[in-house]
Symmetry: C2
Subunit: 506 residues, 2 copies
């Protein structure tokens, strides 16, 4: 293969790769489970016993207690207890697979089944970049991050609170976040869960952007509700859950568990507790609106013995996911869990090791919706700009991995062996020339060249190359197409609601 | 739990952890295979066809050709062809599981079965540390690295050419390397493969250190022979292979393949080629000494479309291992393959992501002997000092992972749920206090503390913390116990052989 031929092959390869970008990945490889039938039976029995003997508390929300009482659960104050199997029966109406529609239909995702979706980090109050360091995030950071994710093919979702825009008053943040997701990105996104009227505002903005009828009849929002482990759901989360369930939008119930503090210090016990919390909460969703989409979520981090702080990228984090996925399958619910988490404060090797461990674990576990797949630093207290593009590259590798291995006759390449003698090389073989373009995954961020070439290009570490790419992605961003009338209606809605909410405080 | 109680728990936990250090890990979790029975049959048939139609070349070694001819293979010049199934039949005498004995019996390893061993990188001519940068390695570096590995519980082997000591003349390097492995470390190690007399010297030094009788009756050396893919074994490797086979020492046959250049550009074709090369080479070992220990090795790196250079941490690298392991199982051979490889030149995030991907892939694939598990930079052109301790921490996490999940009654912790009410916390529960110490894996290298604490401690990136640990490990090293007479005999042997080899050149 001549230099010129090599270049031509490369150009064609890049074009082929761009065309391959899909809104989500369909897994063809088997998932990895670490729990057998006998252990599943133990965990399910223990979850039933927890719900029957101890029960779950639903706090400061008489309506929820009334719903449960009418349906036949045993309500005692705010504590609700459930007969074994009762919650599981209620959950049967939840769909095992559903579509979350994006504003751009070609970006709509499947949630559940063998689909796999990568979604940005959720919730950090801080941002970090290597030039400016760590600081409180602003709405400008939020917009930048949303612009970056719009352009990353390996990220299937625009996320939710990609960072907290702390420069905006709390009561109006949700308006500006939804506005950014709808105008700077055309992938699906998440709804606000901090107050019922904020959930309603987010739904209303979707109705403006995607059509009221469409939104009333389809799932366009995917929102995460955390239980307060152990065994509590508070009024804020309950209000959001009820609002989205009534609107037929998806709610993920994701117990937030620091193992050893918010659950017993073992995987087996934590699984039973999480299963109990998810079953009771999804049962509530189905009582409110049978058939409303829901998912089984987990966020599990073992507490450090040394520091008392949460840890990430640990063997137990992955083991937990590889068991919980099987429990979700048994309930017939899509499974949602964490991706590239790290405790590191900076985009260093620790961030790489831990994030890859969590991301690969989640992928092999068969997590359907992988949240926190990009940008996490400091255990979700910080979103790192460089970390976003570094993580997205590894999401891309994981997508390729789950596509499995091709054993077709073409892939067997027996003709190539007949063409190339022992000790020869395959670079110029007909089979190589025909398949080079799409044969192997190629990342955007890894440097594989020679030391000399790398040194000549400035001897940049990966986070330094990432910083350059981030700058370019922000500069290159072009907002996805939107009808100007729709855009105006969104702008007007934000202005009107801001006035209503802030009034004189403005 | 009070602060004092917490400290007591932590102290006991550390003691418990040290006591746990084992010479290797016994995997309790299922391995991940990506190849089904139908595809296995295809690959095996193709390997048989390659050996039958194309054959393999054994270069510049008439003795090998004579061995094959006498045994019934079809020899034509240096090309040897094999009837379908012929090699597989010869391999039946190889043991599926064997012990490689270490000088310290408590460090001896099991190779094969459900055992899993982590071994340092092999072969780099350069070393790198963050203070001095990249430079040619010396025997002092070799000794330092061997001292470090002696103290890392997650590394089960002292390796072979952990770096090339380029300050020593080539013909005597093997003496000083074996001397370092035998005196600075008491884990098992690898034999020289660069010339038959060097293999004999290494065996002789083991006889001095471990007893001649013992060495003659047991496997104490584990040596790696690379084919020159495609389908060539050259005289250097053949000589080493024959020497070790005759001495009953283990030889791993590991085709070194850059996919797309040294094999066709697909996994399916590369699997068939590698299987063919391993079968023919292990058949030779068994013809030389039936029952001599051997292993099925792989080193597969997809060639980069962009740079023409090898890539690491890719989905195909892991997919390949997850298929090849099944082929090794079908031959009844232990499986040897690569660990924490990276193309990065420095201990940055790329190094972390790629190394974790390869290491976790190898672990899940069930690789029995994971070579290059610590220290790799620049695709094995460099060993990084900091990288060694960073990688070892991840080996430790992987060891814990494959131990699986405990579903015993004690782990179910139903009493803890009865003790702690909804919304409470488990830190002080009796079950937590009884199990905190060994409950979760804790690494040495990751920083999980608060941002403020991290900043107060100097805001160190992982490679900076690793540099401090490296310095301490080198300073703290104490040579393992050795009978002074044995030590003297080893020193004398090196002096005498150096004189014989170098003569006047000295």
């Amino acid at each position: 293969m001549s230099r010129r031929e090599g270049r031509d092959l490369r150009i064609r390869a890049r074009a082929a790769r761009t065309a391959l970008a899909a809104p989500y990945t369909l897994r063809r490889t088997a998932i990895v489970s670490l729990i057998d039938e006998e252990a599943v039976a133990i965990i399910e029995r223990n979850a039933d016993r927890i719900l029957d003997e101890i029960g779950m508390e639903f706090r400061n929300d008489p309506e929820t207690l009334e719903i449960f009482r009418k349906a036949g659960a045993r309500v005692d104050g705010e504590r609700v207890r459930f007969d074994p199997g009762w919650c599981r029966d209620r959950i049967r109406t939840a769909p095992p697979v559903f579509t979350q529609h994006a504003r751009n239909p070609s970006r709509s995702i499947q949630v559940g089944g063998n689909a796999q979706v990568y979604c940005p980090s959720f919730g950090p109050p801080f941002v970090h970049d290597i030039e400016r360091g760590r600081r409180y995030a602003t709405i400008e950071d939020f917009r930048n991050i949303t612009k970056i994710h719009h352009q990353l093919a390996a990220v299937n979702h625009s996320g939710g609170v990609v960072v907290e825009p702390v420069d905006l008053p709390v009561p109006v943040r949700h308006l500006h976040m939804a506005h950014a997701h709808l105008t700077l990105n055309d992938k699906p996104f998440m709804g606000a869960v901090t107050a019922p009227e904020r959930a309603r505002d987010t739904i209303e903005m979707c109705r403006l952007a995607m059509g009221a009828d469409f939104v009333d009849r389809n799932c366009v929002l995917y929102s995460v509700v955390n239980t307060n482990a152990p065994l509590v759901l508070d009024e804020t989360m309950l209000w959001a859950l009820k609002e989205y369930a009534r609107a037929g939008q998806c709610t993920v119930v994701s117990p937030f568990v620091l193992g050893g503090a918010m659950s017993p210090v073992t995987i087996a016990a934590t699984l039973a507790q999480v299963l109990a919390e998810v079953m009771a909460s999804v049962a509530l969703i189905q009582l409110i609106r049978p058939g409303a989409p829901a998912a089984f979520g987990t966020f599990f981090s073992p507490l450090s013995l040394k520091t008392g702080a949460p840890t990430f990228g640990t063997p137990e984090g992955t083991q937990f996911q590889m068991c919980a996925k099987t429990l979700a399958d048994r309930l017939g619910l899509p499974f949602h869990s964490v991706g590239a988490l790290t405790a590191s404060k900076v985009p260093d090797a620790q961030a790489g090791y831990e994030s890859q461990a969590q991301l690969m674990g989640a992928t092999l576990a068969g997590v359907n919706f992988i949240i926190h797949a990009t940008g996490c630093l400091e255990g979700l207290l910080t979103t790192g700009y460089e970390k976003i593009v570094m993580d997205a590259d590894r999401c891309s590798a994981m997508m390729r991995f789950v596509e499995g291995v091709d054993f077709s006759e073409a892939a067997q390449a027996m003709d190539a062996f007949r063409e190339v003698p022992p000790g020869g090389h395959f670079l110029g073989a007909a089979h190589t020339r025909a398949n080079f373009e799409t044969a192997f995954w190629m990342g955007e961020m890894s440097d594989n060249g020679t030391y000399e070439q790398w040194a000549a290009e400035g001897a940049l570490w990966e986070h330094e190359r990432a910083a350059l790419r981030v700058r370019k992605l922000i500069a290159d961003h072009e907002p996805p197409e939107m009808d100007p009338a729709i855009r105006e209606s969104l702008d007007d809605f934000v202005a009107r609601r801001t006035h209503e909410i802030m009034g004189d405080r403005r």
